[in-house]
Amino acid sequence: MTSTPLPTPRFRITRHRRLAWVGSGLACLLSLLGLVLCWINPEIGAPLRPGLDFTGGTQIQLERACPGPCSPVSADALQRRIARLTVPAEAGASAPSLNAAAVQVLDQGRSLVLRLPDLNPEQAAVVVAEVQAAAGPLQAAATSVNTIGPTLGDQLLKGSLISLLVSFAAIALYITVRYDRVFAGLALLCLGHDVLITCGVFAWLGLLAGIEVDSLFAVSLITVAGYSVTDTVVVFDRIREQKTVLRDLPLPDQVDVAVDATLTRSLYTSLTTLLPLVALIFFGGSTLFWFAVALTIGIAVGSWSSIGVAPTLLPLFARR
């Protein structure tokens, strides 16, 4: 190491810490509000609007084959037509009622998405045949039918939650061993902040735009958590490294030096990670759109919290 004089950071994050806290606190409150509003909304009844993966049921996606512009299809008419349909019953069970079927018409009538109760493949084929008769011809090769039993959605949710909690605990343990308890606590706080805000945005999206969360959303939350910890660790690593050199400076100044030194890296890294994600949002398949949106939000927030939240809180907790 060089024996440079004490560095004077160009940018002092601790001078703006009140602003940073208020901003993050407001974002967290808004997110919580969104989650609570979702929960008390009788139509949703959960902190986030659960998609097919969690509720169970059958989703059928169909592409219509039209040479020119597609003839208009009324979602309501199609819905009523499907509701009148009776599907063959499975042995020992009554045939599911299709009254609750929901039809969405997308891409100027080119594609149709049907949400139905749990159907077996035979029953789903009956529904597809009905749509074929009503709005055909369809492109057989572009049909996608997903059926998820309710037990599986439950398993998925439990599996994701448990693995998330276990990985949090393991990461906290690792940081405690490598650094310090306070660092571990702050890293987890940051992680909670990032995950909360990402969930909050999707709660509001669910409330206002009817966006549902699927199992890919669970994957994106896990990713955001991992990214958030990595980002925070880099700043903490810098603070620890400078402890001996900057021993004479008060802790807030040490934090400023570390944040200033890692600021370029933090911004560049989020930029380089966000580039492929933004590309996925604009050019990626429809299946990955909301996944990329969730990751983009989470990574942007994660980058912010590693600069503005974790380091500025450090002097507060380390003083004791």
């Binding site: 039918v145 599986l152 599996g159 996925l280």
Partner: protein, 501 residues
């Protein structure tokens, strides 16, 4: 210098090996990318068994494997997942409903003799059954013919007057939901009749366990198919005893599959002395060719030791899959191209080196996917893209440190060395925390999450290698040439401390 060249040779050799691996082992794509159906089955504990043990799961898998092979589905795979689940993958444009039907049934075949003194009840039920079945078959044929745009087949009309149907239903105590069609009512009637027929049989003496082979043959008269059965020695003896006990008595032999009476046969008085010997029998059920084949497959596969339940079906049309893979690929590549431009603009010579190192990184990653093999699905691709982000981050961390050292007025070679060694601890911590999450996700997560964890973990391990080895040795090799050892290839001149360079 010699050491750098050694590393460089190793990296080159690895790159060639990776390219060779990719050329000879194709990447395996998940069904969400290439299209196809995925069926998830839950094995249910039944009777005395309260939890599914690994042996039982294996036994169920064996039976299902035989059944699927019998169906003649191309390239299907059946895997066990977790403690009590099986996943069947059917690639391409194949209808999952037939597979679902064949997989889901227990195929418990029983041969049961009719209880004495029930002849009258039985003949009444069977008459009703034949009548309802005939009407139902004709209705189905007609609607199928109509759906295919042909005129209805010209067969003599059979009919079950609505009033008679309603009376039969009522006498059997079947509640008919309001507004159900004639076909629905016929189906309800048949189900109830079958249940009552089965009640008239003695408990089973002979089951499908004693079966050694099953086949099918076209009926000599008529267009239907028969399913033929061959028993083992003990089964043959039991079958002879069973047929002897009812021969000539007017009582029937019931063939019951999964609690459904599929065939009722009478045994003529000529078999009174010894029963039907020879260890074989046939089920005359007027099956269609496809039904006979499915039944044969189920019987040959044996009965399932435990019942299974279909809990998930995912079908992605092949063109939808192709669309997904194409657009995701375009997105990933354009994003990465932007990252490459960014790195070269911001970091100059080392930026260029890192682009080479990151291309190698992507190549190694894909080669490992092909080698293990990892089936690439959408979450897997997401894990791959994220791990590229982490790999870029490692390079950014190193180069920022190198720049700092240069700004502090250090020599080029020393700055590079210090930059690498100072960045190491944060890179290591970031990667280890990532790997910890991967381990937790892999151990506890479900299918989708697992695929993501695997690709991310491979990516993290490789990125440790490429960032610390590839980037470093290529950079060192280049700076061993004096022409390239210029600080301005690393940092704009105005950022240098006065007097340096």
């Amino acid at each position: 210098m010699a050491r750098q060249q050694g590393w460089f040779a190793l990296i080159l050799a690895l790159a060639i090996a990776a390219a060779a691996v990719l050329a000879s082992f194709p990447l395996q794509l998940g069904l969400d990318l290439k299209g196809g159906s995925q069926l998830t089955l839950q094995v249910m504990p039944a009777g005395a068994i309260t939890s599914v043990k690994p042996e039982q799961l294996e036994a169920v898998k064996d039976v299902l494997d035989r059944r699927i092979n019998g169906l003649g589905v191309a390239e299907s795979t059946l895997q066990t997942v977790g403690d009590d689940q099986l996943v069947l993958q059917l690639p391409g444009e194949q209808d999952p409903s037939r597979a679902a039907k064949v997989l889901g049934t227990t195929a418990l075949l029983e041969f049961r003799a009719q209880r004495p003194g029930t002849e009258q009840q039985m003949s009444g039920l069977l008459k009703l059954k034949r009548q309802a079945q005939a009407v139902l078959n004709q209705r189905r044929q007609r609607s199928q013919a109509l759906a295919e745009g042909q005129s209805a087949p010209d067969t003599p009309a059979v009919d079950l007057p609505a009033q008679q149907l309603a009376e039969s239903l009522q006498s059997l105590g079947v509640a008919v939901p309001a507004g159900s069609s004639e076909v629905d009512q016929l189906e309800l009637l048949l189900a109830e009749v079958n249940r009552r027929v089965v009640d008239l049989y003695e408990p089973a003496e002979l089951t499908g366990r004693d079966l050694t082979a099953a086949g099918r043959q076209q009926q000599q008269t008529g267009s239907g198919w028969d399913v033929t059965l061959t028993f083992n020695g003990e089964g043959g003896r039991k079958f002879a005893a069973l047929t002897q006990s009812i021969a000539g008595s007017g009582r029937l032999l019931g063939i019951v599959l999964d609690g459904r009476s599929i065939s009722e046969a009478s045994v003529g008085p000529e078999f009174k002395p010894a029963g039907i010997t020879g260890g074989s029998a046939s089920i005359t059920g007027n099956f269609s060719a496809e039904e006979a084949r499915d039944l044969e497959v189920q019987l040959r596969g044996g009965s399932l030791p435990l019942p299974v339940k279909l809990i998930e079906v995912r079908t992605v049309g092949p063109s939808l899959g192709a669309e997904n893979i194409r657009s995701s690929l375009v997105a990933a590549l354009s994003g990465l191209a932007l990252v490459a431009v960014f790195m070269v603009v911001v970091y100059r010579l080392p930026g260029l080196v890192s682009v080479v190192a990151l291309s190698l990184y992507a190549l190694f990653n894909l080669a490992i996917y092909a080698l293990i093999p990892v089936t690439l699905s959408l979450p897997g691709i997401a894990g791959f893209i994220l791990s590229i982000g982490m790999a870029v981050d490692a390079n950014v961390l190193i180069f920022e440190r190198v720049k700092e050292e240069l700004r502090a007025g250090n020599t080029l070679i020393r700055s590079i060395d210090t930059g690498f060694s100072l960045a190491f601890s944060s890179i290591l911590d970031g990667h280890v925390t990532g790997l910890i999450s991967c381990a937790a996700l892999f151990a506890l997560g479900t299918g989708l999450v697992k695929g993501f964890a695997v690709t991310l973990a491979i990516g993290l391990l490789l990125s440790l290698f490429t960032a610390l080895t590839c980037t470093r040795s290529i950079l060192r090799l280049l700076t061993s040439y004096p022409a390239l050892r210029r600080v301005t290839y690393f940092l704009p001149a105005r950022q240098l401390p006065a007097g340096a360079a």
